[in-house]
């Protein structure tokens, strides 16, 4: 460590950043920090199945980094990023995370999308003491010193939405349908407990289809037979498109049959087609159509950088928070050291968040509002409801396990 600091000190007289603190002071653990630059890693799938979803996150993180640099960087240093491709393959994610931490000595990693990739990367960031900013809403049941979860965990996302629809639509009976893996199953477990114990309603069906399944006619018939007040869905990926197209084709009118989804953002609607999903309710923390000054600036900057036609979903916005929260935390800690950042994270607030305002909780998740939007024909959501206060993140919810 001392060795790494020596060349930095010899360079000091040349550095023009008078206000920037000395590298030896802000980087005691040998991270890739120079007098003028700090390196972070971006680790998402740019190829493979998940590229569909992760492209938006990559774009958002690059935008945030560019904006931070334009505003003077972090502790007087410009952010440089190294992008690695996880290629939708979980062992590759772990390998690339190790490369970023061990070879490139990045100060933080913005990355991962699926829970599977996060679970693969988690032991690596813990072993080599890195910092991961993870953007996706996920099933909870996890907490780490080395991870900041900028998306919502399951109870944050689900409970407020269920409460709203129960009150607004007088819903008593629910039909759950999801893709068959950990996130939908955990989310539905939480939803079922809430429906049965808190809302005193009934779950009339709970169905799972293999990832990538494209045939939903049978389950749609079951939905027609059981006539639930609400269809609650967490179907993901290509199946999503098939599900809504077939639902529409089977004559289910979403204007009359309430449907609440926790897996469809503006990104997904691009593939589904607005006409197939118009009228459905989605429960998220962010919609592109949110009407506030932060969001308007964010949306126009995003479109300027990535094209008029791009849409911005919940996860894309959460990915945008990552670099900003890291910058704010570094400035609060006055250091790039991972241990100091992990300790300084709780309480860090970001007032410029497109979703409004977020704050990091003791458990490294974010306090955030939960919102319900109704899908429109043009592929955007119309905000219908938002919680009055920030919802507390609760990754290990008591009574829901």
């Amino acid at each position: 460590m001392g060795m790494a600091a020596v060349p930095a000190i010899t360079m000091l007289p040349r550095a023009s950043f008078a206000q920037a603190p000395a590298t030896s002071a802000v980087n005691t653990t040998g991270l890739a920090v120079t007098d003028t630059e700090v390196t972070v890693g971006i680790l998402h799938s740019a190829t493979g199945t998940m590229a569909i979803s992760e492209t938006g996150s990559i774009q958002a993180e690059k935008l945030a980094i560019e904006q931070i640099n334009a505003a003077g960087g972090v502790l007087g240093r410009k952010i440089k990023f190294i992008q690695e491709d996880g290629a939708s393959d979980w062992p590759t994610f772990a390998e690339k995370a190790k490369k970023l931490l061990v070879n490139d000595k990045v100060a933080a990693i913005m990355g991962c999308w699926t829970s599977a990739s996060r679970k693969a990367v988690l032991p690596v960031v813990e072993q080599y003491n890195g910092m991961l900013y993870y953007p996706t809403f996920y099933e909870g049941l996890e907490q780490s010193k080395n991870v900041i979860y900028t998306g919502q965990e399951a109870t944050q996302q689900i409970l407020a939405g269920l409460n709203w629809i129960a009150k607004e639509k007088g819903a008593k009976s629910f039909f759950f349908i999801g893709s068959d893996y950990i996130w939908p199953r955990t989310s539905n477990k939480i939803a079922r407990k809430h429906v049965e114990n808190v809302l005193k309603g009934k779950v009339v069906g709970e169905e799972y289809y293999a990832l990538g399944s494209t045939q939903f006619n049978s389950v749609i018939n079951k939905i027609k037979l059981t006539k639930p007040d609400v269809i609650f869905t967490d179907v993901v990926g290509g199946s999503n498109v098939a599900f809504y197209k077939q639902l529409k084709a089977a004559g289910v009118d979403l204007a009359k049959q309430p449907l609440l989804t926790i897996s469809v953002t503006e990104d997904e609607i691009d593939g589904i087609g607005g006409e197939n999903i118009a009228g459905a309710y989605a429960c998220m923390k962010y919609f592109q159509s949110l009407d506030n000054a932060n969001n308007k600036a964010f949306v126009s900057a995003f479109k300027k950088m990535w094209g008029e036609k791009t849409v911005i979903g919940d996860v894309t916005q959460a990915a945008y928070l990552g670099p900003w929260l890291w910058k704010l935390t570094v400035e609060k800690a006055g250091s790039f050291d991972v241990d100091k950042i992990a300790a300084a994270s709780p309480g860090v607030e970001f007032k410029g968040a497109p979703e409004g305002y977020v704050r990091i909780h003791e458990n490294h998740h974010l306090w955030s509002k939960t919102r319900v939007g109704r899908a429109k024909l043009d592929g955007q959501f119309e905000l219908i409801y938002e919680t009055a206060d920030l919802v507390e993140p609760d990754p290990f919810p008591k009574g829901y396990q």
């Binding site: 493979g48 199945t49 569909i52 289809y209 018939n221 027609k224 589904i272």
Partner: protein
């Protein structure tokens, strides 16, 4: 589970479930036909089948965009033109691939598996580079959306009916071409004995190229039709490949009738089971049944009888 429902409800659900099964059957036949020709007739294990389908889907998407931009008045009929273009595009790509890649591998059928798998990866990345990583939404004309009201409680999806008609049409055409036409006789002659077929004056290279092209072209039409029920993205083809091979292998590779019989039995089993248990379990049981039957009858349901 039926206690709470009226007889009328149950009746209409059974009718609709019957339709669901028939639609699944049509989907299976449609996606397997192209492969049945390529794998069944030529012995080429075409792992890129799904990508040929998705090429058809992308062609459909581009056609729909073109019509929206330049010929909005004819938009309601664009789908028919799109299917023809999908057939031509996938067929042409198939013939090119046969010429560049496959024809060198006829004596090493197992290597076609590796080669076409590589091809499928290259095509996926090509789609991603050209059309972007995100899925595209194919806009359909109004008349193809929604459902037909048969009675108050029975509704039949229009896209399902469309797929069924298309499947019947294509199956009959393929059967006609393979079993009635002169060219079909040549194809079957080459399948049975390549050397003898060449000796009696059949241009086996040409027959191979057109057969492969036909198989890929049909995959393209299937992909085009599936824009109505599924997603269109660079890797969407992967969603179909397992089911497709399942249907073809279970049916007995070289038999068109076998493919149809196998699609029927798999789709009916699956759709019935799906109704009585969860989707994942239905799939597991269907696969188990198929594995069991294939262990007893490795040649599949229908095997071509030839003198060995």
């Amino acid at each position: 589970m039926f206690g709470d429902y009226s007889i009328g409800d149950l009746g209409s659900i059974f009718v609709m479930q019957g339709f669901a099964g028939l639609i699944l059957f049509s989907v299976y036949v449609l996606m397997a036909l192209g492969l049945a020709i390529i794998f069944g007739q030529m012995g080429v294990i075409n792992m890129a089948h799904g990508e040929f389908m998705i090429l058809g889907a992308y062609v459909t998407w581009m056609t729909s965009n073109l019509f929206q931009a330049y010929l909005p008045s004819l938009f309601s009929g664009y789908f028919f033109l799109a299917m023809i273009l999908a057939f031509l595009a996938s067929g042409a790509l198939g013939m090119l691939v046969e010429w560049v890649l496959i024809r060198h591998l006829y004596k090493r059928p197992l290597d076609t598996l590796l080669a076409t798998w590589g091809l499928s990866l290259m095509l996926q990345q090509a789609y991603r580079s050209v059309f972007g990583a995100r899925e595209v939404g194919v806009e359909l004309p109004q008349w193809m959306l929604g459902s037909l009201h048969v009675t108050d409680s029975i509704e039949v999806p229009i896209n399902g009916v469309f797929v069924m008609c298309l499947t019947v049409l294509i199956t009959i055409s393929v059967a006609y071409v393979l079993y009635m036409s002169r060219w079909g006789r040549q194809v079957r002659a080459v399948v049975q004995n390549r050397i003898m077929a060449g000796a009696v004056g059949i241009n086996t290279e040409k027959v191979d190229r057109y057969t492969y092209g036909l198989g890929c072209g049909i995959a393209g039409v299937a992909g085009s039709a599936f824009t109505m029920i599924g997603s269109t993205g660079p890797t969407s083809g992967q969603l179909y490949i397992v089911d497709t091979f399942l249907v073809v292998v279970f049916g007995g590779a070289a038999s068109l009738l076998g493919t149809i019989a196998s699609a029927f039995s798999i789709s009916q089993t699956q759709s019935t089971l799906e109704f009585f248990m969860s989707g994942s379990m239905a799939k597991v049981l269907t696969l188990l049944a198929v594995v069991g039957i294939l262990m007893l009858r490795p040649q599949g349901l229908f095997a071509l009888k030839v003198r060995k």
